[in-house]
Symmetry: C2
Subunit: 148 residues, 2 copies
Amino acid sequence: MAADQALRLDNQICFAVYSTAHAFNRVYKPLLDRLGLTYPQYLVMLALWERDDVPVKDLGERLFLDSGTLTPLLKRLEAADLIKRTRSTADERQVLIALTAQGHALRDKAKSVPQSILAASDCSVRELMAMKNEIVALRDRLNAVLGE
Amino acid sequence: MAADQALRLDNQICFAVYSTAHAFNRVYKPLLDRLGLTYPQYLVMLALWERDDVPVKDLGERLFLDSGTLTPLLKRLEAADLIKRTRSTADERQVLIALTAQGHALRDKAKSVPQSILAASDCSVRELMAMKNEIVALRDRLNAVLGE
DNA sequence: TCACATTTAATTGTTCGCAATTGAATCCCG
DNA sequence: CGGGATTCAATTGCGAACAATTAAATGTGA
């Protein structure tokens, strides 16, 4: 592809991904407002609903985020009584993140969210999963380059 | 899909898109550091290289961003002497964004960026364009819901 | 024409996201 | 055992991203 064409905004897959991430964020906003969560906070809760009582580092690896992002976010979730932060006794460098009863309970309220997003995306589950797999494969290749 | 499965992080296309956007950002970082640009600033420059002398609003529509994001970003580009902000005489509500000579010149330095990204994505142009088209179609459907 | 609505950027305040650094705990190796 | 390297979370500083509001300019209809 000629450099001129390559620099066109419309040809940039990165812009497609970037602008779609923001579009998702905007669609999620009214749904998550009802749960009292921001979108990144929702992702943290999704991760914790799968497995909690984990150090910040574990959460960071699952979400591709570092402590600079997670520490203040987790403090806000703690202030909202959704999680508890406890310094590990076994290894005092670690801070373990556990769900509170309210944090567990919020999962029920969140159950309807994916269905609403599916409707907004106006697409079959099969198609979305196929796209998701392609995008994840791309992400993993990009991350592989970073790891070198 | 059962609600339990739907809430799994791995099944969320939104998380796939979100985490891929961050992966792109990290791959772009070292390349854009050489141009003295952040990733959103690079997107603004891409848009301006296609068409400049445009009001902030026009830029916002092309990038799906509002003045709250663009105004400070454009001030930084102006401080770097890449663009000039001029209040329109025809309609004094508008501020027109034009490239400076340096802003135009930066395009040459940016020409090698897409090639580097292509290499990092370890994927053919054809495959990337196909993915891009799918993602853009999804974005447009999401934005359509927001417009209602 | 004139009051009122709309458009446009800018501003304010909150929350991410990350690089770089810090300080404490733990690991590892001689 | 001891000292330097490593790991982990927190902190600082900067740049997005967006909601809500503001102020000025323009448009519109009676």
